[in-house]
């Protein structure tokens, strides 16, 4: 309404000047007409103007409403504005901009899509050579083979991280929440990574009740556990240390705690460990540290509706807690 009136100001001024011109003309030519007639004429003319303005307002009101508050109508940006020429032309303009914008967006999305597809395919292609290297190394038995196996393990983990990171973008299509046995998930993940434990001489201790189940996605949970355990072992700082996985229930929540006996995290770094690409002081000492592990854990937790907490005592160790909001015994 305000905008409408603002737009009409020149017309109203123009009209007012017109209205003054007629009595002025009468006055100049000396034709003395009664004031009331002139007022009457002005009133009739004024009401014609009012009808015009009302019609104009009614036929353009959606356009004006949209123009004065573009944000409020963002979701209905392409709804018809009415069939007066101006709203119609404006509607066409919006539509053509919209079309152009959608085309661009579509192109961009398909570019991203094809890049993801390419990357996934590439990762899968790399797995055949990786299998061959792994199987060949299994047949060898000197120190060189051990070192090859270690590198193969790292390559495998790296590829897995690439895959899971790209899957994170399409999370909605790729998870299913079912009751999962925490004990089974933890011990299978530990077993999968046993070579890492053995290599670093780190003990695994699992204290999770057999019957404890949580609602989660098994695949993503195992991916998170791999990230957490790999960190815990790598930062344990030497052989003879133990990584403990313990679970307990607190009210409706089930809490899985993974604790290492490593050097811990400096207090000033604590806030940043979940940031992507954050490696911290100690991370730089390990070549495989990408700084993505904990970031991914937090992102996955967010999407699955779990929580993740981290606490650390420098010199004593680090504890990561995964909190599932409804543990079922």
């Amino acid at each position: 309404m305000k905008l409408f009136l603002k737009v009409q100001i020149p017309l109203l001024l123009f009209y007012a000047v017109q209205m003054l011109l007629v009595p002025l003309l009468y006055w100049l030519t000396g034709e003395g007409r009664p004031f009331s007639i002139m007022l009457y004429g002005a009133a009739i003319s004024g009401s014609v103007l009012a009808v015009y303005l009302a019609f104009r307002y009614l036929s353009h009101r959606r356009l004006y409403a949209k123009l004065s508050e573009p944000e409020a109508y963002i979701d209905s940006a392409f709804e018809p504005l009415g069939d007066a020429p101006l709203p119609e032309a404006f509607e066409k303009l919006l539509e053509s901009y919209g079309r152009r914008y959608r085309d661009r967006l579509g192109e961009e999305a398909s570019r991203v899509d094809s890049q993801i597809t390419f990357m996934n395919r590439w990762v899968h292609q790399m797995k055949t050579p990786l299998s061959i290297i792994q199987l060949t190394a299994e047949e060898m038995d000197d120190a060189a083979a051990d070192s090859i196996r270690e590198e193969v393990d790292r390559l495998r983990k790296g590829l897995e991280m690439v895959l899971y990171t790209s899957r994170l973008d399409r999370f909605e299509d790729d998870f299913s929440i079912v009751p999962v046995s925490l004990r089974k998930a933890v011990s299978e993940t530990v077993a999968e990574n046993r070579r890492l434990f053995i290599r670093r001489g780190v003990q695994a201790e699992i204290r999770v009740a057999e019957e404890l189940q949580v609602y989660t996605d098994a695949k993503w949970l195992r991916f998170m556990l791999t990230q957490i355990l790999t960190n815990a072992v790598n930062y344990s700082g030497g052989s003879g240390k133990t990584v403990t996985a313990a679970a307990f229930q607190r009210g409706r929540e089930a809490i899985l705690e993974i604790r290492d006996e490593g050097i811990g995290i400096a207090p000033e770094d604590l806030k940043r460990v979940f940031n992507p690409y954050f490696t911290g002081e100690r991370g730089r000492e390990y070549r495989e540290s990408t700084g993505m592990g904990l970031y991914l854990v937090r992102e996955i937790c967010k999407r699955l509706g779990h929580r993740v907490e981290l606490s650390s005592q420098p010199g004593e160790g680090t504890t990561i807690r995964l909190i599932f909001d409804s543990g079922i015994l």
Binding site: L130, Q134, L135, D141, R194, A204
Partner: protein, 231 residues
Amino acid sequence: METILIIEDDAKLAGLLEAYLSKYGFRTVTVEDFSSVLDAFLDSGADLVLLDVNLPKYDGYYWCRQIRSRSLCPILFISARDSGMDQVMALENGADDYITKPFHYEVVLAKIRSQLRRVYGSYAQQPEERTVRLGPLTLYPERFAIQHGERTSELTQKESVLLEALMLKEGRVVSRERLLDLMWEDQHFIDDNTLNVYITRVRKKLKELGAQDAVETVRGAGYRLNIAGAS
């Protein structure tokens, strides 16, 4: 002797699988012409099929359906893809199980054995028990027993695993890491000291059987089995 058909377009990988499986007493056939996989299957008389998903011309799912229309033999997929969806696809196209790359030999062997046991029942186990022979020494890994000449001795499961690994690599060093890996348990993981204890026990059993000084410690590397009179 069961026949295993390997349908894998990477010749190297197919070769490795072939070599490994024949070591465990399977007859293996590989496919070379990927436009007539079904014919290769029918000619091979396979008892079990290892099938890769990504193949030239048609994919593994296609061939799986083709084979399924002619035979009920177990089909194991070997694929790089590991999402739930891919596994569902495989099972829906008639596969019996799924192995993801990169894999370990033991996994393939275990899955093959379990399928054969399930499908062919006792027939698969009966013809001969699996044995590992080394000179005068014979190990029965399935019932944890060792025989030296006329004498036999019972082993624990761990001792049997340990001895099998040493016997298969007779004369060469088996690293401590490798042994710890093989002996991994779900709950308590075996540490160096426990491994020492097991080695001591194996030595003692071998000594009782009359095979003395057989397990040799190689400092900083691992252990080596030397059996007098072995091949």
